[in-house]
Amino acid sequence: MAKKILFIEDEMRLQEVLGAKLKAEGYEILAAMDGKSGLEIAEKEKPDLILLDLILPKMDGFHVLEAIKANPSIPKMDGFHVLEAIKAKPSISAIPIIVLSNLESGKDIERCLSLGVRSYLAKTNYSLEEIAQKVSEVFK
């Protein structure tokens, strides 16, 4: 059975092109354009992997991460309602996450790593092939 990947990315064109590549690699792709609907899909579909952009409308990627990881040490921000929803279903907190972002400041990377992100990939620095390889490494 094909592995399910949820891609939370607000740039439609990036979503299309990476989605096409991963579909060609045999994965099933679930797409969300913002953090809120991304979380809803994560809860409902329980994907095998989440690819997450950090700058998202409605709820940024950090809030999604915090909500998914349900880390009580992190102060609640405007994504707290999602955090509560996730706390009710802690099964999704174990889903591996790869962050795909063009934010590359030390603080961002550190914050993502502290939230248990598997990999932090700068979009411009990785080709589609390299991203597909990182994805396949998760399932090895």
């Binding site: 740039e11 064109r13 990036l14 092109v17 990476l18 096409a20 590549k21 700058i55 063009n102 934010l103 590359e104 400041s105 030390g106 603080k107 990377i109 550190e110 979009k123 411009t124 620095n125 080709s127 589609l128 092939e129």
Partner: protein, 323 residues
């Protein structure tokens, strides 16, 4: 000395910071110095003439102190303005870079996909343009990345993620890539490694950047071709990587500024106008932030050798982990 004289050129300083005369820190500093000296002399002379009226002396001291206080306040405000402008510039670069990177990612990935799908372009000129699109997009990505890295270094927000890794693997990867890219040129590559080379402890991704910057620099200087020799050897507590080229070398004048920001050597600029002149500046900053050293020797007309060192892990000085 030249730097000191330069700092006394008030008009130049005002232009440099983009502020008026009465907001220029250098000018205000000189004014404050002049007031302090003249007020000491004036107080001394006045005290001699009016030694029977100490209130007058006290009043003069009070007035001078008030003037100095006002000037001090203006200096602090001026510095604040400069600092704020610098912060605004950093934020602008960060925001703009992020905005530019999104379309660059889209172009990069779409070109990747088109290439993978093996789209048929029969027209040889169109094929050439397609390759150029990919190369130019990659060039823009490099420029934006370099500007962002410069921004981080200047703001001291550079984040190193050190790990233990094989420097040889990075060298082999970068040289392998450059070999492929330079198949149709007269540039050849050789990698020499000493035995029992220890692993290094540094930021792997940034080390790859440093190696790429130095090897690309060697290629750039090898205008008439030649061999580029990359050598790896263990030195006390570090691994040293040197890159020797047989290129045009660097003039004595340019050698002084080779690691400066936005510097382009005259000898290379004649042949190649591309690049921001940031790569060696960034390489130096990254190597030094990693606890290593960087340097070079060069002879005009004969070639240059750039070298850098990276520390081995602290518990690995004797060398249990070999590459």
């Amino acid at each position: 000395m030249a730097k000191f004289l330069d700092s006394l050129n008030i008009v130049k300083q005002c232009r440099r910071y983009g502020v008026g005369l009465w907001q220029c820190p250098h000018f205000l500093f000189l004014v404050m110095g002049a007031i302090i000296i003249s007020s000491i002399i004036a107080t001394y002379l006045t005290a001699q003439w009016f030694f029977t009226e100490p209130q007058l002396i006290a009043l003069i001291v009070l007035v001078v102190a008030a003037i100095l206080f006002v000037i001090g306040h203006i200096i602090v405000s001026s510095f604040e303005r400069v600092a704020e402008a610098s912060l605004a510039k950093s934020e602008f670069v960060a925001i703009m870079s992020h905005q530019i990177k999104t379309p660059l990612s889209i172009i990069k990935w779409q070109l990747n996909l088109l290439k993978e799908k093996g789209i048929k372009i029969e027209d040889s000129e169109a094929k050439k343009f397609f390759i150029h699109l990919d190369e130019e997009n990659q060039r823009m990505i490099h420029i934006v990345n370099d500007l962002l890295e410069l921004n981080r270094i200047e703001d001291s927000t550079i984040f190193l993620n050190p790990s233990v890794f094989s420097l040889k693997e990075i060298i082999d990867e970068v040289v392998g890539r450059r070999r492929k890219e330079n198949l149709n040129t007269n540039v050849s590559f050789e990698v020499k490694t000493s035995e029992n080379l220890p692993l290094v402890f540094a930021d792997k991704i940034r080390t790859r950047d440093v190696v790429s910057h130095i090897i690309d620099n060697a290629i750039r200087y090898s205008i008439n071709g030649g061999k580029i020799t990359v050598m790896l050897q263990g030195v006390p507590k570090c691994v040293c990587c040197s890159v020797r080229d047989e290129g045009i070398g660097i003039s004595k004048e340019d050698q002084k500024r080779i690691f400066s920001k936005f510097f382009r050597a005259e000898s290379v600029y004649k042949y190649q106008t591309q690049g921001l002149g940031l790569r060696l500046y960034l390489a130096k900053a990254i190597v030094e932030a990693s606890g290593g050293k960087i340097g070079f020797t060069s002879q005009e007309g004969k070639g240059s050798t750039f070298w850098f060192t990276l520390p081995v892990p602290k518990n690995n000085l004797i060398g249990n982990n070999y590459q």
